[in-house]
Subunit: 402 residues, 2 copies
């Protein structure tokens, strides 16, 4: 008997009909002789509705109370799904985050899982119950409710799969797998049947929007076999695992773009040791995640430093930089959020020196200017103007013949 | 420093404006130097909306899952109220039933409180936090969520007041106290400033609709000082306590009526010992609560037995009685739910023999036929035709010059 963890997102449980569809998938899996743990997100617009309610009363509500409020969303969808499964005649029990032993730190709004106390879930599985667990939520050591922030339900699912030593963790979404590029952008993009954790990590962090990074990192760490698939079709999805077997080794795995980017530059700061440290430690102290970094070669004893952040961090970053510009007698701050980060990912490029030049060539031929470049072992990212973003993805996809 | 428990019902927190109004009442009380624990129900129609969602998916959902679903209603209103209090600049924390230590038995849907673990609430009060607690809900010994059923939030409030040895438990509703009769029915009914637990108990069980019996019983048992008052006005309410001081001892406290009544009679059963036991033990085994009972004087070795039940128990009662009618060779079942129970309540009547006759006189003068009569030490109830119900209340109110 296998143990399978299945996670369904908000659109997959948005109304009674979709919930019944999920109940069908779950009970089919159970019927085949598997133990099943199901993780659900809040229904479609529930979270937005709850946020609107809170905003009307107090736009600056504490994160603790927001978490109390928002965690009701998954509690509603998990009980409704359990009722749908009951109706089909299967034994089922729904559990909130605290009931399922999801123990987190105290960072309300974006808590991290610390430990999973799997006792209760084990008891229910021993009774051959289908176990429906609220995603996205847990409790801290004060017994206060916390939420896990973006991608939280994926993380809940992978954590449960890891703790329970599940044979497979299936992430059901509204796309049926991981593609070589966004199919809405590149019509001839095709679905990958397998991908490695590292490739998925790069794709997720680059805005592929299928799986959140935290969940992939956790899956890699605990060797959880992941599968991304659609709750709308019966098509096989994309498997995410340690090592991918394939007949023809593809050079690159996919092209992605991320528009949630702002570029900030501080100009004319002294070209001396410790400057970069000063800048990025200040940003880190404000919890700003910096992505690409580019430092100009020194000239006249000064240099320029540019970096990118997500748009939600733009304002705080600018405040930090204005302050530093004064302290360091820089010549000013430049900011641009009409930019997009376009990347290619693939374990194959490690051993193939021509990849970067092929990418740059494709962009040059399309007349697209590259503002910044960043490379890792299995990824190359470039920053381009927002208006060039779509064309960049298409021309690269074509150049690599994906 | 006094400790005051305040309970607000669904209409008192139905929207953002009403929640802000409640926050004002709560913080005013805190501002006066009191510790405050607030118990809230779900917002206005939330519970009905959740029930509709469940019905769409599974009209026969288990009570366990219904409780998981319904308990989100209070979790939403408690966090919103906490946010409103935060906005006014006061320290506050919201707690669900399990966080507040409300331990119940396992009767999902109508659980009874077994114990209150007040540790967490005490910790928060020591920090001088206003503590907002979800009414109506708790957990059983399996850590499963339960709800307390009708009047549950009142019971939560009284239980907290008892466990915390609160100086006062204020129940805020949409009426501003307990009246000598329903003011919509009897325009010159007046508000009572004080009433005893026993009188309140009789009134509550007779359909006065202000406080649920369970909460009054608990208040009496643990000597909790109750006050019923309105969240819409600043008028003083009605105090419910052990002994009422008053200048003029009123003979009766109020007139009430209850239309949720069905009368059932079994005719021509043998006039021999054990028949009544047989009938009412059968009904009890089906969890039917019988209210008034009337047994005719035997004639021709047979007798008739009549009793009243709430309308929701009519069907099951009829089934039980049809079966017994066959077993006992009775001559048939008669049922009438066009009836109403009209009652007068008052500790004063114990020592005053003329009360019953005065009531019957008033009804006779109004030409109203009495179908059944039941009396207790502080209450007299009569069953009349539904169409006579309003006139009965008015004529009795007038006769006693309330």
């Amino acid at each position: 008997m296998n143990l399978i963890v299945q996670k369904f997102g908000g659109t997959s449980v948005k109304d009674a009909q979709r919930i019944q569809n999920v109940a069908q998938i779950v009970t089919d899996t159970y019927q085949q002789g598997n133990n099943v743990v199901v993780v659900v997100s809040a229904q479609g617009d529930t979270t937005d509705d709850l946020i609107a309610k809170a905003k009307e009363i107090n736009p600056k509500a504490s994160k603790r109370e927001m978490d109390v409020l928002l965690s009701t969303g998954e509690q509603i969808s998990m009980s409704l799904l359990a009722m749908a499964i009951e109706k089909m005649g299967y034994p089922v029990v729904s559990l909130t985050g605290w009931q399922a032993g999801m123990l987190t730190d105290s960072t309300y709004g974006s808590a991290r899982l610390r430990r999973l106390n799997k006792e209760r879930v084990d008891v229910e599985l021993d009774k051959r119950n289908i176990v429906v667990v609220a995603g996205f939520q847990g409790i801290n050591r004060y017994d206060d409710i916390t939420t896990l922030g973006r991608g939280g339900s994926d993380t809940s699912a992978v954590a449960l799969a890891a703790a329970l030593h599940a044979d497979l963790c299936q992430i059901y979404t509204d796309v049926d797998g991981v593609y070589t590029a966004d199919p809405r952008l590149v019509p001839n993009a095709h679905k990958l049947s397998e991908i490695t954790y590292d490739e998925m990590l790069e794709l997720a962090s680059l805005g592929a929007g299928v799986l959140h990074n935290r969940s992939v990192e956790m899956a890699k760490k605990y060797h959880v076999n992941l599968e991304v698939l659609s709750s709308y079709t019966k098509n096989p999805g994309t498997k995410v695992k340690e090592v991918v077997k394939e007949v023809e080794k593809m050079l690159i795995r996919g092209v992605t773009r991320d528009n949630d980017v702002a570029r900030i530059s501080i100009m004319g700061v002294p070209d001396q040791p410790g400057i970069a440290f000063k800048i990025f430690s200040h940003l880190a102290s404000k919890k700003v995640n910096v992505d690409l970094i580019l430092q100009s070669i020194g000239r006249d004893n000064t240099k320029d430093i540019s970096f990118t952040v997500s748009r939600s961090h733009k304002q705080i970053s600018l405040e930090v930089m204005e302050e530093l510009n004064e302290q360091l007698s820089g010549s000013g701050i430049v900011c641009d959020d009409n930019v997009s980060k376009v990347s290619i990912v693939g374990a194959g490029m490690q051993t193939n020196p021509g990849v970067a030049s092929k990418m740059f060539e494709a962009l040059a031929e399309a007349g697209i200017n590259i503002q910044m470049i960043s490379t890792s072992e299995i990824k190359i990212s470039v920053l381009v103007a927002l208006e060039d973003s779509d064309r960049a993805v298409k021309s690269i996809h074509e150049a690599f013949d994906l």
